[in-house]
Structures are given as C-alpha cells and as structure tokens.
C-alpha cells in the first residue's frame, strides 16, 4: 500500500494529477472488482450448502465445511479418503509440473539462441515462427493435435511407414497428445519470460567464461542459468498455473479415462448444478497451486520481487 502511494506520487509528478488518479483508480477497480470481490464471493459460496433458490437466505442457509469434507472423504463420512478426487488433483498437479519442466527444457535453449546467437533475419524468423501458430484459436489447435497424434494421424503414419513401430500407438490414451498440446500452448510465455532475463546478460561474460576454459555446460550452469533463473521462475509460475487451470485441452486431448481437476470443477458447476461444491473445488485448486508455487520458489530461492522484474 505504501509502495502504491509512492507510485502514485511519482506518477502524478511526472504525468499530472489527472492521469495519476485515472491509473490508480483503474488499477484499484481491476484488483478489487474483477479479482478480489469475485474470489471472495466464490470463497463464501464454497462454505455454503447447495440450496434450492427459495431457501437462499433462509434459516438453512448457514456456513458449513461440508464441501471441503466431501473433497477429502467423499460420501464415506470420514471413514475413507476420497481417493478418486484427490487422485485427480494429484495427477493434475504432477502433469502440470511435467508440462512446465518440458517447457523449461524446450524454451531455455530457444530463448538463449534468440537472445545471443541468432541475429537479424534468423531471429525475426524464429519469433514469427513462435507467434504465428497462436493466430489459430485454442480449440482448433487442440483438435489439430488430436489429428496429429491420432491412431491414423501423421505421427503414427510416419512411424509406421518408417517401421519404427508396427502397431499404431495410442498417444491419446497415454496422454502424450495432452502433454504435447499443453506444452506447445504455453511455449511462447516461457520463451519470452526466459528471453527477457537472458537478454540482459552481457555477451562478453559468456566469452570471458569461455576464454577461461569453461565448457559450454559450465558456462550455462554458472553464468547463464543464474541470470535466467528469475525468468524461468516467472515463466514456470505462469505455465504451471495455466496448465493446472486448463479446461479445453484436457477436454479434447485427454484420454477417455483421465480427468483433469478443472473438469471436476466444471462438472460440479454445470452438470451437477452444485455451485457451492464447484466453488469449493475451485478454491482447493487455487490454494494448492499457490502453495505449491511458493514451496518451489522457496526451494529454488527465488524471491517474488525477482519474478516481477
């Protein structure tokens, strides 16, 4: 809050009081009305019973932990864990981590080359190559991946005709298509986050390390990676959060027996019409994801401030 006050003071001295109050008001409106209040409302709903309309506000409309209890224990009443839903959440998190790691491995080299090796036309071509696929809409892209990875898809076709494998592989059931699709969707976020960080590195430092005999491996480990770390952290946070919260891609690319946690939430809201329980599940996803991100930041010693850069 004090920093917000300081910001508004700086801003108004530079751009005038009118502009400053507009920016502050817009930011406040955004945070309060579009983020904070809906979340609080959802939090409140998650602690209520799913009541028919007439009873809302009536004597039975009280706060309860029922919805959270249901997530943990299902209908067993505390006797046994709700293995199904907890399993789905765990699997979603693991898959999100997997996709994030995949993106880091994929994007670090791309970002590095973009920032330090590619020049002129090559670099522009790379950026265009990264951006153009995102002109195509999300759902279409997911279906394209379905076609790519399907039993009669391009990949199976090439693999079979080259004799790499002799039975079509079910990439959809193995979730390969899903992971690939999700990783692909967020490549751009990761590349630009890492690029932003790596680009600040002075080329001479890489050359100095090389000059002192360092192998490429060590140059990256000791010189480039520490500089890239905040970028990787901010990219990873976004990719992880977005992957864990993705709905369309798992719907289209997920195997028939594999549920994504967001699909559970969707079911509670839409199919079961139980907004209270849906809210509780959404809250659980949010809290667990946040906790996980903070834990990771603690483990990898990244500060929030570093991410904001």
């Amino acid at each position: 809050m004090t920093s917000l006050a300081r910001f508004s003071r700086d801003f108004s001295s530079r751009h005038g009081t009118g502009a400053a109050s507009f920016v502050v008001a817009a930011v406040l409106f955004w945070i309060v009305f579009l983020i904070l209040l809906p979340q609080l409302a959802m939090l409140d709903v998650s602690f209520r019973h799913n009541l028919p309309r007439p009873e809302v506000g009536g004597p039975r409309d009280v706060h309860t932990l029922d919805n959270y209890r249901y997530f943990l224990f299902g209908n067993s009443g505390g006797a046994a864990l709700n293995a199904l839903d907890i399993g789905v959440l765990t699997k979603t998190l693991v898959a999100a981590v997997l996709v994030t790691v995949l993106d880091i491995l994929l994007c670090y080299p791309i970002a590095f080359i973009l920032a330090h090796s590619a020049s002129g036309a090559g670099a522009r071509l790379m950026v265009i190559g990264l951006i153009v696929p995102f002109w195509i809409n999300d759902i279409l892209r997911a279906f394209a991946f379905r076609i790519l990875f399907g039993a009669t898809g391009v990949i199976n076709g090439v693999g079979l005709s080259l004799g790499l494998w002799d039975q079509p592989i079910d990439f959809i059931r193995a979730d390969v298509a899903l992971y690939a699709g999700l990783a692909y969707t967020y490549v751009l976020l990761m590349v630009f986050s890492i690029y932003n960080a790596v680009e600040t590195l002075d080329r001479n430092q890489i050359e100095a390390a090389r000059d002192m005999g360092a192998s490429w491996w060590r140059v990256h480990w000791r010189i480039v990676l520490p500089v890239a770390k905040p970028g990787i952290a901010s990219g990873a946070t976004m990719v992880f959060m977005l992957t864990a919260g993705a709905l369309a891609a798992p719907q289209i690319l997920g195997g028939p027996s594999n549920l994504w946690f967001t699909q559970l939430i969707y079911q509670w809201f839409n199919d079961a019409g139980d907004w209270a329980r849906g809210s509780a599940y959404a809250t659980i996803l949010l809290v667990v994801c946040l906790a996980f991100v903070f834990l990771m930041m603690r483990i990898f010693r990244v500060s929030i401030g570093a991410i904001g850069r």
């Binding site: 100095a208 000059d211 005999g213 360092a214």
Partner: protein, 364 residues
C-alpha cells in the same frame, strides 16, 4: 616456456568490410606489446582473433609455433581482459577470481586460497566475499586482472582496460600494470587508443590505422622516427609543413616550403628525387626560439597566442601562412619572448625533423 605469438599475414573481413588488413608480426614471449590506434581501427578485432573468438579470413595465428586454426578460445594459452571487464556480477569477488580454477576442478579450499593470494597481490586483501558491484572502477579493474592471472595464461590480452578510469587512477594503474607484467614475466598484448599509455608501458608498439598496421617499433623509435604521416601525426603532437624536395645529401633532405628552405631527416633512409612532394614533421618541443641566427632552418614567425601550462608554455605561431606550435620550457630564459612586437625566429635541428612522402603509395 615463453611462447611467441605470430600473426602470419592475417586479414579479417566481416562480409565485404575489411577490419584488419594483412597483419604480419611477431610478439616475443615476455614482451609488453601494444596496439595503438584510433577508435574503430580494428584493435579489438585483432585481439579477439588472437584469443580465438574471431577466425582470420586469411593468414594464420601461431602461438608457441602451433597453428591455432582449430583451437577454441577455451583451449588457447591466452587470457583476455575485456574492454568492459566482463566480471560476473552474480558471483563474489573471490568466486570471480577463482573461476578459471573452478573450470579446472580445483578443490574449493584451494581455490579460495589462491583467490586470497591474488587479492593480496592486487592490494585488495579481504574483499573476497564482496559482490562485484561493491567495488570501485579501479578495484574492478584489478579484480579482472587477477581473474585473468588465475587462469595462468602464457599471454595476457588487455583490451583498453584503463579507458574507463579517471586520469589519476589511470596513471597509477599504468605503473601497476607494468610492474605486474615484470613480476609475473608474462607476455602482455595491450590495446589502447591512448598514445601515452602505449609509449610508457610497452617494449614494442604497433600503430594501426583503418585496419592496417603502419609501424612496429619500440616507443622511442615510434616517437622520434615515425615512418608514415599517420604515425607522425597520431603519436604525439606534430607540426606538419608541406613542401617539395630541393636536394638531398646523405640522410638529410631539404624541402622548399612556404616558410623557406627547411632541412630534415629522410624517413627510413629514403632517397627523394627533386620536386617530389613531401611533408616535414617537427614536434613542438623540438622547435626552439633562436636568439642568435641559426645556421639552418631559420623560420621567421609571428607570435599569435600563448598558453601557460606550468612547466611549459605553448606558443602559437604563424609563419608563411602555416600555424606552428612550440613548447617552451619555462625554466629556459629567452630574450625574444620578452620583446614586444611578437616577431620571433624559431628553428630546429635537422636530425630531429622527419620528412615523409605525401604519396601514400610510397609510405609504409
């Protein structure tokens, strides 16, 4: 032990642009060798070629007799100190200095010990745990040198390492660098556009202009016997007086100039033909005020202006339509200076002036 660096007809081109043209020279082991030239003349490019970051477009680089063509920068016995130092900001001072040892998998304890020794040597003991940004410019400078020395190279390459420092510190670091070089006995290849630096520190100086090495000699020869008009005017101050050759006897040639006939030494033992267009270069400190009429090189001049600079006084003179500069030691007494009408007779010794041909094809 000590390794010679040989540039064998090295040219470096970027696309159609030639950054270095046919550099051919030998730098002996243990020498302090400077490349001197104006900004953009290809000094950094040449240094990067020696350290292996740029491949010569033609010619070879040999270090210790070995062709370096397929030897990467990490495998050469050179250490480069970059124009902007390129210290690692995220590592501590000690980690920076010990980086070359880390590369060679020296143990942590030993690394620290060596770093502390080197910090001692560069007179920065106890700063090992600081971050690089906590150091001053001159301290960073010395850390960069220590880091390069930790790599135990045979050849240290320095790219204008003092250019970012203020005058006092620069002069101090000059002496210090020279002392370090003599103590550790390494070959130093030093790049600068500051002639003072090149002249005070070096055993040999190569003067570069637009990618071409115009002269390689020891500092005194460079200063006293420039071989090309560029060297004569780039190194030190010079008065350039144009004229045509009247005659030559032995090594002394006489030019017909707007200031009258002037005699100087023909550069590099050249023989000039009469009527050849030449320029005579004479340094401001070699011009003197003649209280009695001199035998040769009599220049009747008019005092236009003067600047008092402590130990010397710069006189700005006008003679035969040419502007001349003369450094006059303040300790030297001169009756002519006291006279009021501003007319002075100045002269110089023929051996101290250099005559170079104007046609660039004949120079070099």
């Amino acid at each position: 032990m000590t390794k010679d660096v040989v540039l064998d007809h090295v040219s470096i081109r970027f696309g159609g642009y030639t950054a270095v043209e046919n550099a051919h020279l030998t730098i002996r082991g243990g020498e302090f060798f400077s490349f001197l030239g104006p900004s953009g003349c290809g000094k950094t490019t040449l240094l990067r070629c020696i350290s292996g970051f740029v491949q010569p477009s033609a010619g070879r680089v040999l270090i210790g007799g070995e062709d370096m063509r397929n030897v990467g920068p990490n495998k050469r016995p050179t250490a480069l100190i970059f124009q902007n130092l390129a210290l690692f900001p995220l590592l501590t001072v000690a980690e920076n200095i010990a980086f070359p040892l880390e590369v060679r998998r020296v143990g942590r304890k030993q690394r620290r010990k060596r770093a502390d020794e080197l910090l001692e040597m560069i007179a920065l003991p106890g700063t090992g745990d600081k971050k690089v940004h906590e150091l001053s410019g001159g301290q960073k400078q010395r850390v960069a040198i220590a880091r390069a020395l930790a790599a135990e190279p045979d050849i240290l390459l320095l790219d204008e390492p003092l250019s970012a420092l203020d005058l006092k510190l620069r002069q101090h670091m000059r002496t210090e660098l020279r002392a370090i070089q003599q103590r550790v006995g390494l070959t130093f290849i030093y790049i600068t556009h500051d002639q003072g630096e090149a002249l005070t520190m070096s055993d040999q100086v190569a003067v570069m202009n637009a990618g071409v090495i115009e002269q390689i000699d020891n500092p005194e020869t460079i200063y006293n016997r420039p071989r090309t008009p560029f060297v004569a005017s780039f190194v030190g101050e010079s008065n350039a007086i144009h004229g045509v050759v009247l005659s030559q006897t032995g090594r002394l040639a006489t030019l017909d100039t707007p200031l009258g006939p002037l005699t100087g030494q023909a550069a590099g033992g050249r023989t000039y033909l009469p009527k050849e267009r030449c320029t005579l270069f004479v340094r401001p400190e070699q011009l003197f005020i003649a209280d009695t009429p001199p035998e040769v090189n009599t220049i009747k001049a008019k005092r236009v202006n003067e600047e008092f600079e402590g130990s010397i006084r710069t006189l700005y003179l006008q003679a035969g339509g040419e502007a001349l500069r003369l450094y006059h030691m303040n300790a030297a007494v001169s009756a002519a200076l006291a006279s009021g009408d501003g007319a002075v007779t100045v002269s110089f010794k023929p051996e101290q002036a250099t005559i170079l041909p104007d046609d660039p094809a004949l120079s070099g």
